[in-house]
Amino acid sequence: MGDHNSSQASYIHLVHHLIEECIVFNMGKEECMDALFKHANIKPIITSTVWKELEKENKEFFEAYERRREEIPTEKETARRIRDLLSRTTI
C-alpha cells in the first residue's frame, strides 16, 4: 500500500520530469506525448494527464509558455528573412 503509492508517486514524478525536459525543447503537449511514448515507453494518456495536472498547478507558466510558442512561426519567418538578408550582404 504505502509501497504502491510511493511507486505511483515516483512514476508520476518521472513523467513530470520528462515533461519538463520536453518543455525545455519547446514542445507542445502532443509532441511530448509522442516523444515520451517513443523514447520512454510511457502511455500517451499518462503523459497527457500529468501534463494537464501540471498545467493546473502552474497556470501562469503554461500560459506564458503557450503564448511563447505561438510566436514561433513569426520568429521563424523573421529568422528566414534575416538569413536572406545576410546571404545577400557582401562585405
Binding site: 518521472l14 519547446n26 514542445m27 511514448f37 523514447h39 494518456i45 503564448r67 511563447r68 520568429e75
Partner: protein, 416 residues
Amino acid sequence: MLALSPATRDGCDGGSEFLDTTCGFSINPEDDEFPEFADHGDLLDIIDFDDLFGVAGDMLPDLEIDPEILAGDFSDHMNASSTVTTASDKTDSQGETNKGVSEKGHEEVVSKRDDTATESVTYDGDGERDRKRKYPSSASSKNNEGKRKVKVDWTPELHRRFVEAVEQLGVDKAVPSRILELMGVHCLTRHNVASHLQKYRSHRKHLLAREAEAANWTRKRHIYGVETGGNINGRNKNGWLAPAPTIGFPPPPPVAVAPPPVHHHHFRPLHVWGHPTVDQSVMPHVWPKHLPPPSNAMHNPPFWVSDSPYWHPIHNGTTPYLPTVATRFRAPPVAGIPQALPPHHTVYKPDNGFGGARPPVDLHPSKESVDAAIGDVLARPWLPLPLGLKPPAVDGVMSELHRHGVSEVPPTASCA
C-alpha cells in the same frame, strides 16, 4: 554684472526673469495693492498677511540688502517653484498653487515664509502682477512637504522591505497603505508605494513570460556544450534579456551564425528590476522538494538571496520555475542547485560543471537530442528538474487516469 545687481533697476519688468526683477521694491503696507492679492486667488488667501506686513514696516530700511538675499535664494525658490508655506501647510493645495502660479507665467514667487519676520516684501512697480515676496527661507525642510512629488529613491534595502511586505500580504492582495505600514518607512507616501507596486506587478508578468522562454535554452546549452562565457554578460544594460532570441536556425546549431542573441541562452531571464545597473537574477527559486533528498534549506530564501535580494523570490506559491538551472549537474544537487544558479549577473558560472553551453535556440529540436535528454532522465531520475514546476497532485493524476481506464502506473502491460 549680472542679473542681480541690486537696486539698479527702475521699471523692472516683473514679468521677466526672476532674477531680473529684484529691483525697485517699495513697500506700502497700506497700499491698496493689497487687496489685489485676493485676485490671485487661493495662493494669496492662504497667506497670512498680518504676519507679513506687521513687520514689514520695520524692514524698509533693509531693502538695499534684500536683493542680495533674494539673489542668493533664488535658485532655491525657483526650484521650489513658488510654494507658499503657511502654517496650515497643506501639501496638496500647495501643489496646486504651485501649478497655478507657474502656469500663470509670472513668476509670482512667493518663497518660504519665515515666521521670525526677517522678511522683506518686494513689489514690482506695477504691483499688478508679479509680486515677489520673499521671506528668508528657513524652510528648506518645508520644501519637501510643499512639493507634491518627492522623488523617491528605491534603494535595494528599501525595495527589499517593499518586497517583503508585499510577499507577506500576497502580491495580488497587497494594498499600498498596508505595505506602507509593514515597511515602517517614514519618507514614503502611499502614492509612492502604489506606483512602485504597479511597476513591480508588471515586472513580474514579464518575468513569467521570460521564464517560459528561458526553458528553451537550458537544454541547448547542455547539449551543445558550447561555452560562450562572454555572452553571459552580453545582456542588456538593464538586465533584461534581449527578447526572443529565437532565430530559428536549423539544427545542427550553426553556432557560428548566431550573432549576439546567443546570450539569450543563458539562463537568466530574470533580472532585477529597479536597479538597472545591477544585473541580479532573481529567479524564483524554488527548488522544491523534488530534489532528493528534499532539503529544507532549499526552498526558502533563494540561494542568491544574499547577493541580490531584489525580487524576493516569489516563493509563496507562484510557480517556481527554474528555467535553466541545474540541468545536469553532475553532482546531485541537494542543496546544490544553488551553485547552478547564477547568483548574479553572470548567469552562468562556468565552474558549476555546466558547459555553459549556449547554442542558438533551436525551434525544432532534433530527435537525437530529445532522445538523449529523455534517456538521461530515465537513467538518472535523481537529477534536478530543469524547470522546477510545481508537481501535480498524485491523487489528482491517479483519479484522472482511472477515469480513462488506466489502473496502474507504471503500467504493467507493455505499451504498444
